[in-house]
């Protein structure tokens, strides 16, 4: 129910693709009628993907229209969360974790390697539009520090050299396996299992 006066929304011909529309319907179904505004965050995520990785004014107004909200309310949310980008970004958004565990394990070196490889500074997008480099706070993969997130995937246990290789591969359009890059599985101890070995052998 609209209970305030609002500026007219201007979303042009922005719309969800068929696939995303199906997702959107599922998301909307989670909330009771009249509470469509609850879907603002997931809708912004869909719109960001629809729009090539960032949220334009049209994308924000479209979400406002879909959730029955005022444009400013959606913009407040979009600007609050660092994972929503309000300016165009590269095809691959490289987020280097700089919080304490990663930092102690050499996050700065990763950042430097990426800067050098891409020829851009933090917060910048490479000229070919392939990469955007930013620093972020803890992404919750401290066991595998240092790590970066590129688009939706985590790349963990990195060295500056490996960082460079990954960027090269991505630039060349190759697939790079996500996860730990040191060969260990998930967040197992380095060099294989260290504890409860007798139980492993018993089994």
């Amino acid at each position: 129910m609209k209970v305030t006066a609002r500026p007219e929304l201007n979303y042009g011909d922005f719309a969800f693709s068929e696939e995303r529309e199906a997702q959107a319907q599922k998301i909307l179904a989670r909330y009771p009628e009249g509470r469509e505004a609850s879907a603002i965050i997931p809708f912004l995520d869909l719109a960001q993907r629809e729009n090539g990785g960032w949220l334009s004014k049209e994308a924000i107004d479209y979400v406002a229209m879909r959730t029955g909200s005022a444009s400013i309310r959606v913009y407040e949310v979009a600007s609050f969360y660092t994972m929503f980008y309000l300016e165009p970004v590269g095809k691959h958004v490289v987020q280097v974790c700089r919080t304490t565990p990663c930092w102690l394990r050499g996050a700065d070196a990763l950042t430097d390697a990426a800067k050098q490889k891409l020829g851009i500074g933090l917060g910048e997008t490479s000229e070919d539009g392939n990469f955007t480099l930013i620093e972020v706070e803890c992404l919750g993969a401290c066991c595998n520090a240092p790590m970066v997130q590129i688009n939706d995937d985590f790349y963990e246990d990195l060295t500056p050299e490996r960082m460079g290789e990954i960027l090269d591969d991505l630039a060349a359009g190759k697939e790079v396996a996500a996860g730990p890059q040191s060969g260990r599985r998930y967040s197992e101890p380095e060099g294989g299992p260290q504890t409860l070995l007798h139980m492993a052998s018993e089994a």
């Binding site: 129910m1 609209k2 209970v3 305030t4 006066a5 609002r6 500026p7 007219e8 005022a70 444009s71 400013i72 309310r73 913009y75 407040e76 600007s79 609050f80």
Partner: protein, 686 residues
């Protein structure tokens, strides 16, 4: 709701359940500093200035609590004067001042700033902060609100005011943490209440653009008065320095304007300095030339003497106070003139019971309503504060608003039934059911409906509909007329309407009289008055003055003591804040001078005598500041309603009268968002 007893600094106080700790402290007379908390807005709890210590039977709470966001519980002990509280508040103040610039000497809020005042009590005398303060770019918010966003302390009062009271979701807090900023996305705030943002801002982040760098609060002389730009009767304070009106601020009146004020009432006052009539003029060879009072009055006297009474007419304007209207009425009576009208717009009201032309429910009474039918009115423009009151009621829930007329965005949900007033006698069944089911139904008739030829029939049909819905009981009167002219109710009260068989406004301006006396009447079409001798008594060189053969300079509402009766029928007093400019005089004295020379005995020589006479003639004017209770048995005339669609009476909120038309600020506002076409403009060209 039952009361809860708590102790504030050891003193017992009972507060209604659901109150918060801050309210309990207020009830106990203990002052709690605050920035984000505002008693008419929702609780945000983000400034942390109102910290207190709480104690219950299990002991003292480990942390101080924000009193605005903590509900009271039985037996709660609140400590506001402990060392811990003092220390906590000092800490909060230090944080607030980290990024707040020390520019009080050049800040317009200086002298009336919450932060400045509270820093006196809780601030440190030096800073421990070595780093650079953050700077925030200024934001565009339109011609009225000036922003200096570096001063913002992110209390979000403006966001909440805009969303909750004004009902325009255009302001938000964007970004986060140290980068948080108030923003409108570079749009002007399209609200008739935007001036109140400046009042709710506790610091100098939002200040008045027209008043910027004009004066300091302690230099101003403050005169309590009443607003005349609509018929709401908002209570105002006129701030003057020397002979200049610098600004108008609202005065608290719970039953009328609460603590808000509409933008026109606040910002049209710069029009008081422009286009003023400060000396008499007479027309010679088709051109107006300055003249002396003797010459101008002499000319009017000659004409009044040489013209037959039935060829003389008088029309009073929308902002005229009761006194000069009464003086003019008495003079015309003395001359035997019956062609009188106080309805420039030709509204078909007056003549019958008093209740038939009042806003009987009262503005505060709207909060009891549960179904409202708007007939031919746009309350958002005709009376922004009544619209805000309806919105307040709407937000509480359980109110259905329906409308007949041109659809407008009133900031709340309105079910527009159609634009034909004939609907009143043929309501859709659903709408009828809503009205019938309502306990306290309300009908509001606006200018669009009443100014039509079938206005009286529409009023009658609306009244019948209300009776059908049982909206007229001993304890409830849901019949309301929403006037837009501040002078209207007083004029109708004293019968400033055409006598038996006499001419009304339409007949007079069509050339039906040889001498037309316009008392500050500017909203009439003067194109057919070329053969009529027009006397214009007023304060602005507007439409009336352009058509005049003699101009007698009068006083604007800030320049005279006068009685005004609001659309509710509430009698209130405007006071002289500055003297009229140049040779201009208070209006009743001009009429008294004319009467003296004509040999008409008006029976008064002073304002007090005039008021006594007026009260004798119109007893209702003696009851000050009270919502009248009028009996009501019939309204209007039974008859056929034309099916023609209702039009919009006001096409530009910012320019409706001589003062606002002369105002630069109002001109800027109408350029940015006044007319409906301009509403679509982005607003960055202002």
């Amino acid at each position: 709701m039952s009361d809860i007893t708590v102790k504030v600094d050891g003193v017992e106080v009972a507060v209604p359940a659901g109150s918060n700790v801050l309210q309990a402290c207020e009830a106990a007379g203990v002052e709690v500093p605050r920035f984000c908390y505002h008693d008419r807005l929702s609780v945000a709890g983000n400034c942390r200035m109102c910290l207190v210590q709480l104690e219950n039977e299990r002991g003292m709470a480990p942390k101080p609590a924000a009193s605005c966001a903590t509900p009271v519980a039985p037996g709660l002990m609140i400590h506001t004067k402990t060392e811990a509280v003092q220390k906590a508040r000092k800490g909060v103040m230090e944080f607030l001042l980290i990024n707040h610039p020390l520019d009080c000497p050049i800040c317009d809020q200086g002298g009336e700033c919450d932060l400045q005042d509270q820093a006196m009590a809780y601030g440190m005398d030096r800073t421990r902060y070595q780093e650079n303060k953050r700077a925030v770019t200024e934001k565009y918010m339109g011609p009225i609100v000036k922003t200096i966003m570096t001063r913002c302390i992110q209390c979000t009062r403006c966001v909440r005011f805009a969303t909750e009271v004004a009902g325009v979701e255009e302001i938000g807090l964007v970004q986060r943490g140290e980068h948080a900023e108030i923003s409108t996305l570079e749009k002007a705030i399209n609200s008739e209440l935007s001036g109140n943002l400046i009042d709710v801002c506790p610091v100098g982040a939002l200040t008045s653009r027209p008043y910027a760098f004009h004066a300091r609060p302690w230099e101003l002389r403050k005169t309590p008065s009443v607003d005349v730009f609509d018929a709401v009767g908002s209570n105002i304070r006129i701030d003057t320095r020397g002979k200049e009106v610098l600004r108008v601020q609202p005065r608290l009146h719970e039953d009328v304007n609460e603590e808000w004020l509409a933008d026109k009432a606040r910002y049209a006052v710069d029009g008081l300095k422009r286009q003023r009539l400060d000396r008499p003029y007479v027309r010679e060879d088709g051109k107006l030339r300055p003249a002396s009072w003797d010459e101008a009055l002499g000319l009017v006297l000659d004409k009044l003497k040489s013209t037959q009474a039935d060829k003389i007419g008088a029309i009073v304007g929308d902002q005229v106070e009761a006194e000069s209207m009464f003086a003019l009425g008495s003079l015309m009576n003395g001359l035997g003139v019956k062609n009188l009208d106080c309805r420039q717009d030709g509204a078909k009201v007056g003549g019958g019971e008093r209740g038939a032309y009042l806003f009987n429910t009262g503005i505060a009474g709207l909060e009891e309503a549960d179904a409202i039918l708007l007939v031919g009115t746009n309350p958002r423009w005709e009376a922004p504060l009544i619209n805000a009151r309806m919105r307040k009621r709407f937000l509480k829930g359980g109110l259905t608003v329906m409308g007949i007329g041109q659809p407008h965005d009133l900031t709340y949900e309105v079910d527009w039934l159609g634009d034909s007033p004939a609907l009143l006698s043929a309501m859709p069944q659903e709408a009828l059911d809503v009205l019938k089911a309502a306990k306290n139904p309300v009908v509001i008739l606006g200018g669009d409906a009443l100014t039509r030829n079938d206005g009286a029939e529409i009023a009658h049909a609306a009244f019948q509909l209300l009776k059908l819905a049982d909206g007229l009981r001993d304890d409830w009167n849901g019949f309301n007329v929403l006037h837009t002219a501040a002078s209207r109710v007083a004029g109708l009260d004293m019968g400033f309407v055409p006598g038996e068989g006499a001419q009304d406004t339409a007949a007079m301006i069509a050339g039906g009289v040889d001498l037309l006396y316009l008392l500050a009447a500017d909203e009439v079409d003067t194109s057919a008055l070329s053969d009529t001798f027009v006397v214009y008594q007023g304060h602005h060189g507007d439409r009336g003055a352009h058509a005049a053969d003699v101009i007698l300079p009068g006083a604007a509402y800030t320049e005279k003591n006068g009685t005004y009766v609001s659309t509710e029928g509430r009698v209130q007093f405007g006071r002289l804040a500055v003297f009229p400019p140049g040779d201009a005089r208070e209006d009743w004295t001009i009429i008294r001078a004319l009467a003296g020379q004509l040999g008409v005995d008006l029976g008064f020589d002073s304002l007090i005598e005039l008021r006594q006479k007026m009260i004798e003639a119109v007893p209702s004017l003696a009851v000050a500041d009270t919502l009248p209770v009028e009996s009501l048995t019939s309204v209007g005339i039974a008859g056929l309603i034309d099916g023609q669609a209702l039009s919009a009476a006001i096409d530009n909120y910012y320019m409706t009268d001589p003062i606002s038309r002369a105002s630069k600020t109002m001109a800027e506002c109408s350029q940015v968002f006044g007319t409906s076409e301009a509403e679509k403009a982005t607003g960055t060209h202002g």
